[in-house]
Amino acid sequence: MAVENIIEINNIVKNYRIRKGLFKFENFKALDGVSLSIRRGEIFGLLGTNGAGKTTLIKVMAGLLQADCGTGTILGFDIYNDHKKIRANVSLVAPTADVGTDNNLTVRQNLEFWAVVYNLQKEKREKRINDVLNFLDLKEYENFWPISISAGMRQKLAIARSLLVQNPILFLDEPTVKLDAKGAQSIREFIRKINKEFNTTIILTTHYIFEAEELCERVAIMDKGKIISCDFVDNLRNNLQKYDSFTIECDNLSTEIIEKIKFNKNVLECTYENRALHITTDKLENILNFTVSFLRKENIDIHSMETNEYTLEDIFIKITTEGEIK
Amino acid sequence: MKFLKSALSFTKLEFKALKFYPSSFVLSVIQSFVNMGIWLFVSLFLKQYAKNALSGYNGDFVSYMVIGVIFFQNAGSILTLPFQSLSTAFWDKRLEIYNSSGSGIWAFLTGKFIWTFVYNLIIQLGILIFAIFVIGIKVNSSISIVSVIVFYLLFILTCFGIGLIGASNFFYLEVKQGREPITWLIDVLARIFSGVYYPITVIPISIRFISYFIPHTYALQGIRLIMMNGYTLSNPNILRYTCIMMIFCVVTVFLGIILLNRALIKAQRGNGVGMVV
């Protein structure tokens, strides 16, 4: 399948007017020239500090907010003229999952209500609701009041609502905030499952970076209304470190051994300090295998080993504190 | 002293809100004027037919109506105040925060009371002056201002007391929004039986006894007699009304404080004053 950009926006600018006094207003730049393209079927992560403009961007992409300038198409629809069609074809789960969940209705009644609102055909409604309930393991709770199920369940209910119609795009704004470890884990599993089974494009914002690392192929990191970098996680990593390196913790290395390791032409740099052997290389896998088996052959104890790969969290902190990477 | 200071900080809070939306002050002034106007026109419409029923007040139905409505309005907003304040704070999730200070909820209610009292006093005083000088409500020339103030204060405090009793219902109530039954009932009964809109003498004799259990009856009647007929506190009728109002005032305020305190303690024994979920 050819790579197809399901979302394509260019130079989006959005200003908010903030009330300062009775008649005084001040502009606040929420988005400052954002360009982004997202492919069909990927899980895309939007990361950023508080107030970086993630939610605004999501609203613009969902057609809930009109950009001040810039161009863009979502699902091939123009963001200015066809916003109605965009809205009818995307789903969104807001960070406060309880919004839209009516506490007076049971879980099932809630879904029935939204099924009608989403204009599902009458014959299909019943089946679809059952499917969604089964898919998210909510079936046994269908007759419960939303208030008596856990926060994680309520979050699932919100996701269930957005799955009723099989829209090709699903926006998840902080889906796991306020959930405990177990609840968050199961939500993450479902996100992956939804993406796989329905080939839904998922755009995800989160504060938990490890979550993005676990789920997303590509991420965009936002700061002050700008996307300061947007790429595959690996590429971001490669940008930060040109060569791979790894560290092996081991005792009593003689200079002789170190020289032997250095002799390999793929080893670019090799130091031994404080019981740590640090090697920089351009061929990670080979050198790893080579070094480890060499050390073991020389009967040297290995205490630990680590490839010095940046985690997404490191990348995030580095990027947001140091600014754009050239 | 510390208590008063924290109560006043709530008063200040309301004042700040007013600064944010000065229009709300204008709106409530207009609202009060309109409400007075409606009843003014009703009395204008009916005044020619009502001479007989109002012989005790010189047959002046318009003055009778306007004075009654102005004071009744004022009392009505105090009556609902405690419950309303608790309810908004509860839904805004503030109540628990206030309660984390030793006497926070009481400071909150007192502050609100002070604010509403002053706010309404200004508005209603304006309307009263308007009614006297523009509409031409007849007020006795030898009116005893002190007596009016005494009655007014007793009236307002009584209403606050009833409001507190009503507010103690808050934590027992099924629906923590809208009107609360006790204050609602008092309000409705007062509208019908206390003679806001018509003298209680027109009420059929078989149900007129209800009037005598409502503080509004005495307060409004006393204020009218003082303002329209020029009676002073030395008048035996007025003196009797003053005593009755004092009893009402002391009983309702004390009962209100005790009941609300008990309700708070009970709430903390149960599920707390904040939302469980």
């Binding site: 959005k14 007017r17 929420a30 939610t55 609203k59 057609g63 809930l64 907010l65 009109q66 809205r87 009818a88 995307v90 789903s91 969104l92 807001a94 406060t96 919004v99 009516d102 007076n104 209705l105 009644q109 029935e112 209500f113 009608v116 609102v117 989403y118 204009n119 | 229009s23 709300s24 709106l27 207009i30 609202q31 309109v34 409400n35 409606i38 026109f41 009703v42 204008l44 419409f45 009916l46 020619q48 037919y49 009502a50 001479k51 007989n52 029923a53 109002l54 139905f61 099924e174 629906v175 809208g178 009107r179 409705v188 509208r191 019908i192 809109y197 018509y198 003298p199 027109v202 009420i203």
Partner: protein, 291 residues
């Protein structure tokens, strides 16, 4: 056609939901009934003030209780149709669901109308109740002959007040009145209508400028016609309203024509303004309160 069908389905579903919520407030329903009862009682007792004088509210017959009961009917209708749409829009806004409704194929109006259903079941029965209480307990009498025409008048006042209600609702987004009292509704319902609609007194009591102001709201005409038709002894031909004195046709037909014109004007205007309001909110990002 398909579209209308689906909107209709959603409307039904909304109403069903509102009904479920409404029916769990049974206590409230009783309070409403009592409220109607007490309201009529107040005016019944007020009418006793006039004991000992002969009444004649020309041209509206001589029964003050019927007079008031009809006033209350129009008051309740106006309370819902005019007063409610704004409240509903703001409920959707503060509840945060506006975004979600917009992310569905529904038209802009369906959610608002659907959510209004709760007030409809709350308030419309009050119209009938007040007529009933007036008749059963307080001696109100009606001209049964003229009921069909009165029903047409009721429908017209329903539509025209709803039109004004839509205008008021649109000001929520269009003029950004979110925190406080909303001016369109306030000026109309709480000032002009409250004073000049004449729920409790005929328009003729008012000073002339207020009478002219009263000529611009539908309530005046609806009440004028209803009272002439339904109160025994009402005069169908005497001209009392300012407009009736200017235009020389029979008062009842003038009332009906004016009501039709007002309905045709306000409803599309309200409709259009509401769409503009949502568009504006979409530009400014004020559709819902997030965070």
């Amino acid at each position: 056609m398909e579209k209308i069908k689906s909107e209709w389905d959603s409307l039904i579903m909304f109403s069903k939901r509102e009904f479920i919520i409404w029916s769990s407030y049974r206590m409230n329903a009783w309070m409403w009934v009592l409220d109607v009862f007490f309201n009529t009682t107040i005016f019944f007792l007020l009418s006793l003030v006039t004991k000992g004088s002969t009444l004649n509210f020309y041209p509206y017959g001589s029964n003050y209780v019927t007079f008031i009961v009809l006033g209350l009917c129009v008051y309740y209708i106006s309370f819902t149709n005019l007063g409610d749409p704004f409240g509903r829009v703001s409920r959707i806004y503060w509840g945060g669901t506006m975004d979600l409704y917009l992310l569905s194929p529904l038209s802009y109006f369906t959610p608002m109308m659907g959510v209004m259903f709760r007030s409809v079941i709350d308030d419309y029965p009050r119209v009938i109740l007040s007529l009933l209480f007036g008749g059963v307990f307080f001696g109100a009498t009606y001209n049964i002959m003229n009921i069909p025409l009165s029903l047409i008048l009721l429908v017209l006042i329903l539509i025209s007040t709803f039109g004004i209600g839509m205008i008021s609702a649109s000001s929520f987004y269009l003029f950004n009145f979110k925190q406080n009292t909303e001016p369109v509704r306030f000026i109309f319902q709480d000032v002009i209508i409250a004073l000049t609609a004449g729920y409790y007194y005929p328009l003729t009591v008012l000073p002339y400028p207020l009478q002219v102001l009263g000529s611009f709201i539908p309530h005046t005409y609806a009440l004028d016609a209803l009272r002439r038709l339904l109160i025994p002894g009402g005069d169908l031909y005497a001209k009392v309203l300012p407009l009736q004195k200017i235009i020389n046709i029979s008062p009842i037909s003038l009332d009906i024509i004016v009501l039709i014109v007002m309905s045709v004007l306000t409803l599309p205007l309200g409709w259009w303004m509401y769409v503009r309001g949502i568009e504006r909110a979409r530009r400014e990002g004020t559709l819902t309160r997030w965070q």
